[in-house]
Structure formats: C-alpha cells, structure tokens
Amino acid sequence: MSASVTHTSAPASHHYTTLGIDSRKIAIWAFIGSECMLFTSLISTYLIYKGRSVVGPFPHETWTDPTTGHVLKPILNIPVTSASTFVLLMSSLFMVLALAAVQNKEKPKRNRGERILGNSKLWLWMTAVAGTTFLGFQAFEFTSFVHEGLSIRTNLFGSSFFTLTGFHGAHVTAGVLWLVTLLAIDYRRGLGSRDSLLVDIAALYWHFVDVIWIVIFTLVYLIK
C-alpha cells in the first residue's frame, strides 16, 4: 500500500514494494504515458487539417476574403511566441532548481550562492511566475487572434489550433495551481528532503508539459 500523500513521504519506507520505488512515481510516469497519446491525438488532428481550411485566417499565409476583399496577414506571431517558449523553457530550469533545493534542504549552505540555490520557495515562485507569464502570453495571443478574425469556430485551423494550445494551456494552469499548493505547504510547515518525492512528481508533470510545448512550437509555429 502506498503511504499517505502529503503529511510525510516517510511512511513509504514502511511498505514493501517490489522495486523499492515509491508507487506514486510509477503512477506519474504511467500518467505521462497516457498524456503522450492524448497530445498525439490533438497534434495529429492539427497536422491532418494543416492547409485544409476553406477560409482564412491562415497560420503562415496571407488570405484575401473573397466576400469583403479584406486582406488577412498570416496570424501566427513567431517573435512573441519565441519569447513565451523561452519563458517556459526557463521555467523548467527553475523547477529543477526547486527540486534540488528541497532535496538538499538539510545540508548546510556555505555561501550566499548556495543559500540562493537552496531557497525552495524562491524557485517554486519563479517556476509559478514563469508559468503564469507563459499563460499571459497565451491569453494575449488568443485574444489578439480573435480580434484579428480567428476564433475556435472560424475554420479547421482555428478549431484545431485553439483546442490543441488550449488543452496545453489548461495543463499549464493545473501545473501552476499544483506549484502554488506546494508553496503553501512550504510556507506552512516547510518542505524538506522527506518531501522530495512530492516535489519530484510535480516537477515531472511540469517538465512534461514543457516538452509538449517544444513539440507544439516546432510543428505549429515553425513548420509552414
């Protein structure tokens, strides 16, 4: 039987396991496996419908509306999305540092640098802020697209784009909420090395969400 979830991870050591690993870590990887298939279905649909929209706006091409004569520019904004991609990439660095800080919480810090690196609250905040910044970029992108004539109902591109990136954004949002919960625990009773597994599981989820964005950025934004 796996131990209780948040009070302490220590009870895991009281329960026999075949592999000597906490069951929750196995479960999160199984979950990540299912997410591979989830996002593959979304990405496949986006790719299937690539270039097949009957009306614009289009991602990389200009489109002239035959009824109104309006010319709609390619709607994707590569510079802005590159910036948000960079922010999300950095959030993974922050997450990894947060985990390291928790794992090494009890070790003595010999200098200022180590103290900064060892500040789990700092890095959890940085991750959450980076994630929220990414979401801000997404919100900006979504609203400006709608403003420019692309909604989820406009065409195949709109439907598949917003659904794919929307699902991703929902995953980021859940991740941010998870991080904030960890922060709350850190403030309440402090996160120490005995909580490593908890933070590790959150980190695995967070990195995976980042990795999905790497794929989306390339397939949706960069490849025409």
Binding site: H7, A27, A30, M37, I48, S53
Partner: protein, 617 residues
C-alpha cells in the same frame, strides 16, 4: 493442498472489526469490496443490456414488425452495445482485477486504494447518467461507435448524443484512473520472489489490459472532445458541410481506440480461462512463456490493425493491404493461445465443473468467432461482409462466446473465494447448457442472414429475402437467455447465504489466492508470502506451505497481527459525484458546472491532504 475445514461465514465475517452496513460500503477502500461492488453493478447492467437485446430480437423476429418505432430501435441497439461494452463487460473485468490482482500477487491491497474507490463511484454515476435517458426515449441513438458527422448537431440535434459523449467521457476517467492503479500495483506490489514470469496468467493479461487502457483511452477522449466541442461550441472538427473537415477523422480516431478496446474486452476472459483450465485439468498452463509473449504481441499488433473497421471507406490499396496484413498477422498469437489451452487439457485429469464447462466453451466459441474474423481480414471479402449481420455474428461469438463465457467461468471458479460458499453445481450446469444453446441458436444463424445481405442496424425487413428463418431462430435463441440468467441469479443469491462452505481451496487450485481463507480477511495475507514458483500450492517448497498455514488461520484481526489498515473515507465518492455533476451541467443548467467543480475540488484537496492510514512508526 490446504482445504482446512473451517467455518467460513457468508461475506461479512464474524471476527471483531469486520465492517457492515451501508456506510461501510460507501466509504470502503478495500479492493475486495470494491470488486464486489463492480460485480453487482456490472451484472445489473449486463441484464439491462440483455433486456435491450431481447426487445431488439422481438422486433426482428418476423418481417415488417412494428413493436417499437424506428427511432426507438436506434436507441435500443445503441444502448445495447454501449451498455454491454462499457457498463457490463469492462466492469465485470474490473471486478476481477479488483478482487484478484492483489491476492494473486501477494499484496494487501492495490497501490492506491482511494483512487480505486473513486474509479468505481465514477463508473456507477456515469452508468446511471447514460442509462436514465432511455426511460425518456432520449437515449443515445447514433450506434455504439457514434460516427461523426452523423452525430454532429445538424444531423443529431437532440440531447441523445450529448448524453453519449459525456457519459463515455466520464467512463474514460474511471477506466484510466483504474489503469494507473493496477499498472502500479502489478509493477510494484508483487510479493518477494514473484518475478513477472511467475505471475498468474490472469494477472499477466490484466497487466497487458492496463497498458492498452493507458494508450487507447486518451485517443477516444480527444475524439469525444472534438465531438463535444462541435456540438456545444460550434467548432469544425467534423464539419464536412462547410469547413472542409474530413469525414474519416472520427472513424480513424475512434478505431485507434476501438480496436485495442476489443482486446481490453477479451484478454481478461482469456486470463480467467487460463486459471480455470489448469485447475480442472490438474496441470499447469501449457506454454506459459508463449502465453505471455502472445498476449504482449496481441496488444502491440492491436494498435496496428484499426483501419480494418474501415475497409469500405476507400482508403486506397496501400492502406487496405497494410491493415489486411496486420489483421491476418494478429490471428497468429491469438491462435497460439487456443492451442496452448487445448494442450493444457490434453492428458489432464479433467473435472467438468461448471467453471470448466464455461472455460472449454470459450476455447470453442472464440475459435468460431476468430474464423469469421479472419474472413473479414481480407479487404475485398470484407466489402461484402461489412455492415451485415455476418459481422454481428463475428463479434458476438468473440464477445459473448469469448468474454462472457470466460467471465462466467471466472464467476463460478472464484465465487467460493469471494463469498466463502460454493454455488450449486447442478443449477450451474443448467445455466451453462441453456446459455450455450441460447448463444449458438441466437448468433450462428446470423452468419447466414449476413451472407445473404441483411444489413446491420435496420429496424425491420421485408419478407421473402431469405432472412426470415434465420431471424426467427435468432429470436428464439435470444428468448432463452432470460431463463438462463434467472437460474444463474437464483443460484448466485441463494448460494451466498446457504451454499456449501467452501474453505480456502475447494478446487485444489495452485495459486496464491487459494492459500488464504474464503472470504479473505481484510488484510488478505497474515504474512506476505515468499514465492518460488508459478503455482505456489502445487510446486511450492516448505516455506510456501508454512505461509499457507499461517495465512489459513481464521479469526485474526489486523490488530492481532499488527497490520495497519487504511481509513474508510467517503471522499472518493464525493470527488466522483462532483465530477459527474460538473459534466451534467454541460447539458442541463450551466450553474451545475460550478457546483460540481466546487464539490470535486474541495473533496479532492481534502482527500489529498488526509493520510491513507493511521501513522505507524
């Protein structure tokens, strides 16, 4: 062979601390109780789906009948399929996953007991959600595979399909959660010495099924999301009319899920039969490694055959050839299993118990279903067979002749372990023979009516096309099922209270679950065994017998043994309820979405922040 004479009570033991009462069931996290809940609920839905089938067969019994309207007929066959697949067979398999896996691997429970309870409650609530509409004649009516664009708003404007989409979406959550749970359990909670290649074959098949679930369900989740979005938000995924959507998108996504799904439906029954046949042949399963590898191969290949459901849509010669080839290939590992089962029985000391009869019938009936299956694997041949009753015959032979017969074998075999008493063998045999006759009488004629061109999903037909006799035979056969089921249910419920006391190993079986009392105590094993072979009871050495003696002791409470049990908790039920209410809000009042979400999130936080079990050391 430990068949100690003990006074095993009916379920709900006599030692102090054993729980009883409604609340104990609502708040249980014990895999054995959850398994029993699945069993009862799934048997109920099995009968509900059976009633739908009986009405269908009554309507089709003779030409040009109008017992039901065409519209209601659509609801009947849709719900019959949906109910049987998602509310009956899968949960019946879950009943066995729940009850058996921890016992077979020597564990005290699954990896995540509360998540386990959650899976059940989600299933129950979703099952109610998707079943109630038929009482108001708004049941799903687009076929169990809900092809879009037929199921998009322009062509299915009513609420029917919304119930279907949401119901299936919720059921997916239940199945996925359970899959993560059992996967982790099998990987991480096996007793010392139980290597993967020493696991009982049922657990192996269950393992493979969890992998299939993890990989296949996300795909149908997305297909359903697209349909839901199209219907609710006006997106264009299946909008072939004005947006240029591809009419095949739904079909591909659905069958990428749908084909692994049929292996999800049949592999557990294969696993059960792989426990039953050796027991009543007094021989270990023949070719254990080959059975494992063929199961794995079926799962892997199962992801490469999906478009054989689409041979008639015009995919082109390359796609047709590829999928025809892979479909023919997948017959090989499946056929290998049949041979291994036969070899298991050969020269065994066969006892024809009811469980054994059902087990043997699976070998025979599934083979017939497999033969019609291989006939479909050729695209040109399938052009004639597809969408006719020939296909209906095929899948009922593999699903009824395979999954259901295997599940009944499992029920008769494991009833003593679950309930502590034996079912009546005479009644069991009557149930078996009635079922066997009914099954063949109902479905064999469909090969002929199908070959003669009778299409699927038609609510009536004209006389004189050569179909009349076969339909009459099928209908006659179908009417026998209720009688058989009534006998089964009578046997089941009476034996629960008054059956002969079973003891820990009434059948002389060989695996771990038979070393502990029937029904097992809350904690399963007083002492976690050390395993040194595939059949610990038959082949185990001294240490295994010692464990068996300790484990066969009656009347020990967890406290006696210093075992810590998890708390009962209502939180999984509340989270499940919140989830379902949230989904309900999508088609009723939007306010419910908020209410459901609030209940779900609040209960979820409460669950995550409370310990599974009391602190110890």
């Amino acid at each position: 062979m430990a068949t100690t004479a003990i006074s095993a009570p009916a379920y709900g033991g006599e030692y102090s601390g054993e729980q009883s009462g409604l609340w104990s069931w609502l708040s249980t996290v014990d895999h054995k109780r959850i398994g029993i809940l699945y069993l009862y609920t799934a048997l109920f839905f099995f009968m509900f789906g059976g009633v739908e089938a009986v009405i269908i067969r009554a309507q089709l019994g003779a030409p040009n009948q109008h017992l039901v309207s065409a519209e209601f007929y659509n609801q009947l066959f849709t719900m019959h399929g949906t109910t049987m697949i998602f509310l009956a067979i899968m949960p019946l398999s879950s009943a066995f996953f729940n009850f058996l896996i921890p016992l077979q691997i020597g564990a005290r429970d699954v990896a995540f007991p509360r998540l386990n309870a959650f899976s059940y409650w989600v299933y129950l609530f979703a099952g109610i959600f998707i079943t109630i509409p038929i009482f108001f004649a708004v049941a799903p009516n687009g076929g169990w595979f809900g092809y879009a664009p037929l199921t998009t708003k322009p062509y299915s404007p009513g609420l029917n399909i919304d119930f279907w989409v949401i119901g299936l979406q919720i059921l997916g959550v239940s199945s996925l959660a359970a899959a993560f749970n059992f996967l982790t359990t099998i990987i991480n909670l096996r007793a010392p010495g139980m290597t993967l290649m020493r696991m009982p074959m049922f657990t192996w098949m269950a393992f493979i099924v969890q992998v299939l679930l993890v990989l296949a369900f996300p795909v149908i989740t997305i297909a359903l999301v697209f349909l839901l979005f199209d219907r609710s938000f006006g997106t264009n995924f299946y909008n072939t009319v004005s947006a240029g959507a591809d009419p095949l998108l739904w079909q591909h996504l659905f069958w990428i899920f749908g084909h692994p799904e049929v292996y999800i439906l049949v592999l557990p029954a294969f696993g059960l039969v792989s426990e039953v046949l050796p027991t009543y042949s007094k021989k270990p399963l023949f070719g254990y490694p080959v059975m494992v590898y063929s199961g794995i191969l079926i799962a892997v290949l199962g992801f490469g055959v999906w478009a054989h459901h689409m041979f008639a849509v015009g995919m082109g010669p390359i796609a047709d050839t590829f999928f025809g080839l892979t479909t023919m290939l997948i017959a090989i590992p499946t056929g290998v299993k049949i041979f291994n089962w036969i070899a298991t029985m050969a020269q065994g000391a066969i006892r024809y118990t009811t469980a054994m009869l059902f087990g043997i019938s699976l070998v025979a009936l599934f083979t017939i279903g497999g033969i019609s299956g291989i006939m479909h694997s050729s695209p040109p041949a399938d052009l004639q067979q597809t969408d006719t009753y020939f296909i209906v015959a095929h899948f009922h032979y593999v699903l009824f002749g395979g999954s259901i017969m295997g599940i009944f074998a499992g029920i008769y075999h494991y009833f003593p372990k679950i309930m502590g008493r034996l079912m009546d063998e005479k009644l069991g045999k009557i149930h078996f023979w009635l079922t066997f006759i009914a099954m063949n009488l109902t479905f064999f004629p469909m090969h002929f009516s199908g070959m003669l061109g009778m299409p699927r999903r038609i609510y009536t037909y004209d006389a004189g096309q050569g179909w009349d006799l076969y339909n009459a035979m099928s209908t006659a056969g179908a009417m026998i099922f209720p009688i058989a089921m009534a006998i089964f249910l009578y046997n089941f419920f009476v034996s629960r209270k008054r059956g002969e006391i079973a003891g820990s190993n009434p059948w002389g079986a060989g695996t771990l679950e038979w070393t502990i009392p029937s029904p097992p105590p809350e904690y399963n094993f007083a002492k976690i065994p050390t395993v040194t072979s595939r059949y610990p009871i038959w082949e185990g050495k001294e240490v295994d017998h010692a464990d068996a003696r300790i484990n066969a002791q009656e009347g020990k409470t967890p406290a006696d043994l210093g075992i810590v049990m998890p708390y009962n908790t209502i939180k999984p039920l509340l989270v499940a309820l919140g989830l379902v209410i949230m989904f309900c809000g999508l088609i009723t009042t939007r306010a419910l979405i908020g209410v459901g979400a609030a209940l779900m999130i609040f209960s979820l936080y409460s669950w995550l922040l409370s310990p599974l079990e009391p602190e110890h050391h």
